[in-house]
């Protein structure tokens, strides 16, 4: 059990470090914009900020409804899904949270997701494939993982990350155009050619850097949800076994899209052989190995 606690704290510290890097990149971009654009600096920062925040607020308040309707989820039935509802209620007692609303998605693939800005306004959805193909212990493992995302405020953190990525993307774009097409008119002497080149490089690399940071954060929070979920069920083998079944299952979730991929327990895009750094989820084998170590 101590290994489990170690994994929880290690993943928490790693996510704090990643968020810190986020802020450093943002600070650098903002500084550059301010320095380079003189009078326009404040405007461009404000523009990028407002745009990013408005999209984020929309996602924050209506995100769960949008995601649920996109996945064509229906509320779980009192009689048909009695075991699922009991499991969700039981694990919310273990987590000390109010029970999230439970939904079922009609799909042969084994998957589940959690959404909602805070524990009081949260929902969990499970596919019919999962209900059919997983045994009780495995289903508990999956629900434990989803409950942990809610408990650790991962949805809120992911929204914040998306805001920051959007902000940097917009601001870098403005910076790039500004420097490429003449830059600041206020001052002739702004450090000359070298600074422009550095600035352009930075404007190209910053959005890539924050995107990679966002994906790294997503992966760390997945490990954390695995570990916290195992602490809730006190049975890491359950989730490990479920992940093994997911690995062997060839079905692909029909309603998944780029936007919702991060929320699912397993990457719904099976045929993507993306490099590890570009994935929202850690590789299944690594997750199973970590769980078996606990």
């Amino acid at each position: 059990m101590t290994e489990l606690y170690n994994q929880i704290s290690s993943n928490k510290w790693k996510s704090y470090a990643i968020v810190l890097f986020f802020f450093l990149v943002i600070a650098a971009v903002v500084w550059f914009a301010g320095y380079y654009f003189a009078g326009f600096g404040g405007f461009s920062v404000a523009f990028a900020g407002v745009l990013a925040i408005v999209t984020a607020l929309g996602g924050y308040y209506w995100g769960d409804k949008v995601v649920l309707s996109m996945s064509r989820a229906r509320p779980a039935d009192e009689n048909e899904h009695k075991y699922l509802l009991n499991t969700v209620e039981g694990l919310s007692i273990a987590a000390g949270l109010p029970a999230p609303k439970t939904y079922v998605i009609e799909d042969e693939a084994i998957n589940a997701f959690a959404t909602g800005r805070n524990p009081k306004n949260s929902s969990i959805a499970v596919t019919t494939g999962a209900l059919k193909k997983l045994n009780r212990v495995e289903l508990e493992g999956v629900i434990g993982h989803e409950m942990s995302h809610i408990k650790n405020y991962d949805i809120r953190l992911a929204t914040l990350a998306v805001v920051m990525v959007g902000f940097v993307a917009i601001l870098s774009d403005l910076l790039f155009r500004g420097m490429l097409f003449g830059g600041s008119r206020r001052d002739e002497d702004r450090g000359g050619g070298a600074l422009v080149i550095i600035g352009i490089l930075f404007a190209i690399l910053a959005p890539i850097a924050v995107k990679l940071l966002q994906l790294a954060l997503s992966r760390k929070r997945e490990y954390l949800a695995d570990a916290t979920g195992a602490l809730l069920t006190r049975h890491p083998a359950g989730l490990a076994s479920a992940l093994e079944k997911i690995g062997k299952d060839s079905n692909q979730l029909k309603t998944a899209s780029e936007a919702t991929a991060t929320l699912y327990i397993a990457n719904p895009f099976k045929n993507v052989s993306a490099a590890r750094l570009l994935s929202t989820h850690p590789p299944l084998e690594d997750r199973i190995a970590q769980l078996r170590k606990m």
Binding site: N86, E89, G90, G96
Partner: protein, 185 residues
Amino acid sequence: MDPITIGIIVIVLVIVIAFILIYNGLITMKTRVDNAWSQIDVQLKRRADLIPNLVETVKGYAKHEKGVFENVSKARSALLGAKTVAEKGEAANKLTATLKTLFAVAENYPQLRASENFKQLQEELSGTESKIAYARQFYNDSVMEFNQAIQQIPTNIVAGILAYKQREYFQATEAEKAVVKVKFD
């Protein structure tokens, strides 16, 4: 104001704020423990409420197993009367043991096992048993967090001022750990 006075004011402010934060943290943990304890009670009561229905259903098919029914009813009354953490723990575990015997006995009556009513009650009871287990787990987790806090520096200073004592864990007694002997008489 000279720097020394400012320095003293800052230090005092920091100490006061730290005290408030630690104090509030301890209150949060303590009330969480209290709430977790009453959650166990809620689940235990739910199970106790299911039992008369269960006993009636089983009686309908297995009239002769009087001993089993009496044990279940006695254990249930004992649980409803228990007060302290230790008493409740023991009573709850005894009730679990008698229920195990009841279900073991039910195995002998295929008509009972097949009845929809019985199956629903079984699922309901099984769900409630899980919830009791989860409630106990959350209670113990909360107690662990609280006990850790009141012993660690600097929270132990504030805890000492408030005279907070460590809370008791909800433990499995020897009765539950022992294998339940099933008697068919």
